[in-house]
């Protein structure tokens, strides 16, 4: 099965808002999803510069095609599980 790509923004504002903690996924991912995901750190995806969408804040993480804003470690892990489950069905 193809792995689910998880893109973590490591641009400045995402980084200071907590993306660094999400990067832990790379080194210590929860066992159930460990071999199903591929973590890619990316540079700014420009979501933060979208001033019309002020309700959205970093850190931004793309789980497959889905954007997670104000991402935290838990929020991303939950999203990964949700997407993986959806794919199974």
């Amino acid at each position: 099965m193809e792995k689910l790509t998880v893109k973590i923004c490591s641009g400045t504002s995402c980084f200071v808002m907590g993306a660094a903690q999400i990067q832990a996924l790379e080194f210590t991912p929860p066992e159930d999803i460990a071999d199903k995901i591929e973590i890619i750190e990316v540079r700014c995806m420009n979501h933060c510069k979208d001033i019309d969408a002020t309700h959205r804040r970093g850190p931004f993480v793309m789980v497959g095609d889905e954007l997670v804003s104000e991402a935290t470690y838990e929020k991303v892990v939950n999203k990964i599980r949700e997407v993986l489950n959806k794919d199974c069905k």
């Binding site: 490591s10 641009g11 400045t12 504002s13 980084f15 200071v16 808002m17 660094a20 903690q21 990067q23 790379e26 080194f27 890619i40 750190e41 990316v42 540079r43 700014c44 933060c48 510069k49 001033i51 804040r57 970093g58």
Partner: protein, 391 residues
């Protein structure tokens, strides 16, 4: 200054174990109009605050005298007269070693009571002819004056007696490490790494001296200055997107035609270069750090980092010293800056909207400001040649 020769000055110091303050003082100055560099190392009598005052006074006075080409003997007399008299030893005293170097090649070395300098040419020690002078007023003090025309790849090493006497009390070094021990170490180090920077060599010498000490505790102030005469190493630091997008292409071309190393600091800036030059860019996971975003690898570029956080950390390390046990993007950039002589900054002035969010930490400075702080420090403290262009 000319492209032909550059003098890199590297220094490293360790204070005597238990003291807060350095008893030795190192002071270097560049006089661009005269294409001249003066570097002074002074060791104050005793250690701690008193020694620090004596050696600081000596370096400051000596700098003024040498700078204004005052006659040396007279200058030394004035210095010795001016120093406060030690309550314990009833003498006023601080040693000095002065290197006065013109970029055209003429270099003079004045020494009083410090261990004799080491001059390295073609990987071998060179004994520079010296003349002795003594003042009628202070008969027991002699000053050695050496003069030589320097060439590319020459090195001059100045040290305080803390280096040569390192290891006293250690059974393995009954007479201390001595100048010969230090010289052997220098030759070995240069043989292993012929282009070692002045900065790294000075650090290596001081560390090696500490290794010799009993319990690795410095028994005296240990200081070392290395002057390295060489072709300038150039570095281009590109940070920030240009204010006007039409300039993107021009900036990218600057990177591809630059005759030296290149560093890009900033995600958006990296994206521009990646797009304009059709290069591939990948995050370098070996630079992982919790506080600093990882660097990236881009073909033909020596270092690609995030912008403002990395630059802020670089500024901190330039002020407080490099974090030895880390290898994050900021440490790599600081090393790259310190290993370069001529640094050309090209600073894009476009404001990053995302950074203006009031929820972000205060430390997120405006790029122009942090770059200004960095290049001023590189100029004044590290004597680098800097050019800055805003786009």
């Amino acid at each position: 200054m000319s492209d032909s020769l550059f003098i890199e000055i590297g220094t490293h110091q360790q204070q005597k174990h238990g003291e807060d303050c350095f008893g030795d003082t190192i002071y270097s100055k560049k006089i661009p109009e005269e294409r001249r560099i003066i570097s002074i190392l002074s060791d104050g009598l005793g250690s701690g605050v008193k020694a620090n005052i004596l050696s600081s006074m000596t370096t400051r006075m000596a700098m003024k005298f040498v700078e204004s080409n005052m006659e040396l003997l007279r200058s030394s007399e004035v210095m010795m007269d001016a120093l406060p008299i030690c309550q314990v030893r009833k003498i006023s005293y601080a040693t000095f070693s002065i290197v006065d170097s013109e970029l055209e090649g003429k270099t003079r070395i004045f020494e009083m009571d410090n261990p004799p300098h080491i001059f390295i040419r073609d990987g071998r020690p060179l004994n520079v002819k010296c003349k002795e002078l003594s003042s009628p007023k202070w008969k027991d003090r002699t000053i050695n004056i050496s003069q030589i025309t320097t060439q590319e790849e020459d090195r001059i090493i100045l040290m305080s007696d803390g280096v040569t006497q390192a290891g006293l009390g250690n059974k393995l070094y009954p007479l201390g490490w001595q100048r010969q021990g230090c010289l052997d170490f220098v030759l070995k180090t240069i043989k292993k790494n012929p282009h070692i920077s002045a900065h790294d060599l000075a650090k290596a010498i001081v560390h090696e001296a500490i290794e010799k000490e009993v319990e690795k505790k410095a028994g005296d102030d240990i200081s070392c200055v290395v002057l390295y005469f060489r072709k300038p190493r150039k570095l281009l630091v590109l940070t920030g997107p240009p204010f006007d997008e039409d300039k993107d292409k021009e900036i990218a071309e600057l990177v591809s035609y630059y005759d030296g190393k290149t560093a890009i600091c900033g995600g958006t800036t990296a994206n521009i270069i990646e797009r304009e030059l059709c290069l591939k860019c990948e995050i370098d996971k070996t630079s992982f750090d919790e506080k600093i975003p990882m660097s990236s690898i881009m073909e033909g570029i020596d270092l690609v980092t995030e912008g403002i956080l990395t630059l802020t950390e670089v500024y901190r390390m330039l002020k407080e010293g490099i974090d030895k046990d880390k290898n994050n993007a900021a440490v790599r950039l600081t090393r790259l800056l310190l290993d370069s002589d001529k640094i050309d900054f090209v600073v894009g002035t476009k404001i990053n909207i995302a950074h203006q969010d009031p929820n972000l930490p205060m430390e997120l400075e405006i790029r122009r400001n942090i770059v200004k702080k960095i290049f001023r420090l590189l100029q004044s403290q590290y004597l680098k040649e800097i050019s800055v262009r805003y786009v």
